[in-house]
């Protein structure tokens, strides 16, 4: 799993929808497809991306041990938060530098 992978896995609105739903509780693939108005094969492809990125994992349904549900893995989300902090730091630094340059070269006389 890489942070760029996490970021791009979450670039897709359907996959963000899946994460939002799984945040509340683990769900079956079929329920996720129904809730998000997707076909099951299409949902299965999205789940595969999320699984490969390490964002979600399969588990047994507590109510029915034979059924498989998906749940969030917590680790990538804290890694993603770290990465977002880094992106924020990157742009804060850049915009400070932009501001300094703009005001040095363009500022109207006081």
């Amino acid at each position: 799993m890489t942070l760029d992978g996490t970021f791009s896995a979450l670039a897709d609105p359907t996959r963000r929808g899946v994460i939002d739903l799984l945040r509340r509780q683990p769900r079956r693939a079929g329920d996720l497809a129904d809730e998000l108005g997707m076909s099951r094969p299409a949902m299965s492809r999205h789940l595969k991306v999320l699984r490969q990125t390490g964002l979600i994992e399969p588990a047994s349904d507590e109510a029915d041990m034979r059924a498989r549900v998906y749940r969030l893995k917590p680790e990538p989300f804290s890694a993603l938060r770290d990465w977002l902090d880094e992106v924020e730091l990157f742009w804060s630094g850049q915009l400070a530098s932009f501001k300094a340059h703009a005001e040095r070269t363009r500022k109207r006389s006081p």
């Binding site: 760029d4 850049q94 915009l95 932009f98 501001k99 340059h101």
Partner: protein, 120 residues
């Protein structure tokens, strides 16, 4: 922050007119863009950042004396002096993977509020 934190927004107030802010941001990008390995592919080596000023233009870094290029992305919105957007690919991204950066320039008091949003 949304339920899934997949974007970063940073705002800065610049005490110049929006048209000047837009011009500096785009035409002079290489002059204010920070240097060093955190900010440039060239790292500590000399490199030049170019932004082609049009829709469909490219944002790219030229380094190793112009023999190497890292294309950051294409300009997806070009509306001077209020709005600029471009794709953003880090050198570590796999092919096809991209993120987007959206920059708005809004007149505010004696200057301009610049709001940059980086989305996954």
């Amino acid at each position: 922050m949304t339920a899934v934190a997949d974007q970063v927004a940073v705002t800065v107030f610049v005490d110049v007119a929006p048209s000047d802010a837009f011009e500096v941001f785009t035409a002079e990008i290489d002059q204010w863009w920070r240097r060093g390995p955190r900010y440039r592919v060239a790292g500590t080596q000399p490199g030049v950042l170019h932004l082609e000023p049009r829709l469909g233009g490219r944002l790219f870094e030229e380094y190793r004396e112009g023999t190497a290029v890292h294309e950051v992305g294409t300009i997806t919105a070009w509306e001077p002096p209020v709005h600029l957007a471009f794709e953003w690919r880090s050198i570590t991204f796999v092919p096809g993977e991209t993120t987007s950066v959206d920059v708005r320039f809004t007149a505010s008091g004696s200057g301009t509020r610049v709001t940059l949003v980086h989305r996954g």
